[in-house]
């Protein structure tokens, strides 16, 4: 419909990796004529990520702690997605891969207890109005089992260069874990 109204539209595929994200940014900045700013932004992101990667590589990969994404309704994030890649930059292994879970599959509570990840990555909760989806995280079985790292839902929603901040925050948490 927008095309018929002769408004210029640009179709971007969902970015499920950093490279895909870069491609999208480049195409977008080309379309709106802001290529310089776009390139600068991307370069900043790559630099941050590279620094993180160097820090993570100081320990062997099989010593990395495990993290599990637990989104509302117990849905997790699997291999080959943007969030998964960020995990690696921050120096974590994805607990979902231990069970072969894909993105948007439920991480059963029992399995979660058995796998015992060091970190649970959850979304900040809507405090005032409850939902069953969020109640899951308050299950007594989960309380006190692992450290929790909260992410604002908006942070992972749009694939922009600021997702590097998410990775940085995760890396900081990793350091806290290391000191525990």
């Amino acid at each position: 419909m927008l095309k018929r109204m002769e408004i210029a539209t640009l179709h971007l595929d969902d970015a499920n990796s950093i490279d895909a994200l870069s491609r999208n940014i480049r195409r977008l900045t080309q379309a709106i004529g802001q290529t310089t700013r776009g390139d600068e932004s991307l370069q900043l992101m790559y630099n941050t990520l590279a620094k993180l990667a160097r820090g993570s590589k100081e320990t062997a990969k099989d010593q990395w702690p495990y993290a599990a994404f637990i989104q509302p309704n117990g849905l997790t994030v699997g291999q080959g997605s943007l969030s998964d890649e960020l995990l690696h930059y921050a120096g974590f292994r994805n607990a979902a891969t231990l069970l072969g879970l894909r993105t948007y599959q439920r991480f059963p509570l029992e399995s979660l207890l058995r796998v015992r990840p060091d970190l649970l990555i959850v979304q900040t909760q809507h405090r005032r109005y409850p939902s069953l989806a969020q109640e899951l995280l308050r299950h007594p079985a989960l309380v006190g089992t692992a450290l929790r790292h909260e992410i604002q839902p908006s942070a992972l929603m749009c694939a922009t260069t600021s997702i590097a901040d998410v990775a940085v925050a995760l890396a900081t948490t990793r350091q806290r874990l290391g000191r525990l």
């Binding site: 439920r106 207890l113 809507h126």
Partner: protein, 330 residues
């Protein structure tokens, strides 16, 4: 009690307890060992947590909710003298879901957890009373089913509205839980909230058991045989509202258990409505335990919802019952 009934009850009780134990220790997939073995080994902290916080609540709820649904179904059939009366079919479960969702999504249940089952009970009570007013005295099957359709439609629409209006973005999709039912990830808190209220409901219904026998001859005769009809109605209506309301509040709507179980067991109980109450409780518990084991252990990419399984079994059964009844009424 004829020898037949003792044997039947013993058989049902044994089945129920076996399924209970099985559900507690059965692993969810081939990769995991039996929980019992894990518990017995030295390093069993996790196994103990799983057992106490996950398996016990889930399995216990399957047992008591199944028993409640079976009992309530048999009780409603005894009171209304119609084999199609069942909490799901006649809208009692749907209304309970409405009451529970109002209590939960308004945030009331976060302040006072007991509000959750009480909301379910209030919803269920409203529906049973309404149903009884419409279809109580001498109403035929058609009236009963139509009343159920109406109550289900209204309750369903209002529940969807409550979920839609909740500011929480996840609420709208949770209609799936409320309408299809699930025992996954229930906690000891749910057991504590629903359990005692259900027990009271059971007691009320069982107190009315002898009356259901006399009611087989119709209300006028039952009164002449010394039955206090008003008392009986209050007990069965109240008991049903308590069992079903508290159950739906923690598991969502699980339908057809109260329809299938009494029908299957009626002949075995010699058509005695009073014996059928106990038998249906044990039978309902067994059915739900078995269904929950299936849900937990059948590998599927998305978790099967409990109510889907009971509906797959129960809905064709329902259709078959309707045909049978139509033949009889002609």
């Amino acid at each position: 009690m004829k020898v037949g009934f003792t044997k039947l009850l013993l058989l049902l009780a044994t089945t129920m307890l076996s399924l209970f134990c099985l559900s507690l220790i059965l692993p969810s997939s081939f990769a995991e060992p039996f929980l019992l073995l894990e518990l017995l080994s030295r390093d069993s902290d996790i196994a103990r947590t799983i057992f106490l916080e996950l398996r016990i609540p889930r399995t216990s709820l399957a047992l008591i909710v199944g028993a409640s649904l079976g009992l309530a179904g048999a009780a409603m059939q005894g009171l209304l003298r119609n084999p199609l009366a069942e909490p799901g079919v006649v809208g009692v479960s749907g209304s309970a879901a409405l009451g529970a969702t109002l209590a939960f999504y308004s945030g009331l249940a976060s302040i006072m957890p007991l509000a959750l089952p009480l909301g379910g009970i209030a919803g269920a009570l409203f529906a049973v009373i309404l149903l009884f007013t419409i279809a109580g005295k001498r109403a035929g099957t058609a009236t009963l089913l139509l009343a159920g359709i109406a109550i289900n439609a209204i309750a369903g629409a209002l529940t969807a509205l409550v979920l839609n209006l909740s500011p929480n973005p996840f609420a709208a999709m949770e209609i799936i839980f409320w309408q299809m039912g699930s025992l996954a990830d229930r906690s000891l808190l749910h057991l504590q909230l629903a359990g005692p209220l259900m027990l009271i409901g059971w007691a009320l219904i069982l107190l009315a058991a002898p009356a259901t026998r006399a009611l087989s001859l119709g209300e006028a005769t039952a009164v002449s045989l010394g039955i206090n009809i008003r008392n009986t109605q209050v007990k069965i209506i109240g008991g049903t509202a308590l069992c079903v309301g508290a159950g739906v509040a923690v598991t969502g709507v699980i339908g057809f258990v109260g329809l299938v179980v009494p029908h299957l067991l009626r002949k075995l109980c010699n058509n005695d409505p009073a014996q059928l109450l106990l038998a249906s409780a044990a039978g309902g518990a067994s059915l739900l335990l078995a269904a929950d084991i299936a849900v937990r252990c059948i590998p599927a990419s998305a978790e099967l919802k409990l109510g889907v399984i009971t509906a797959l079994l129960g809905a064709p059964f329902f259709l078959y019952l309707i045909f049978q009844l139509r033949k009889l009424e002609q």
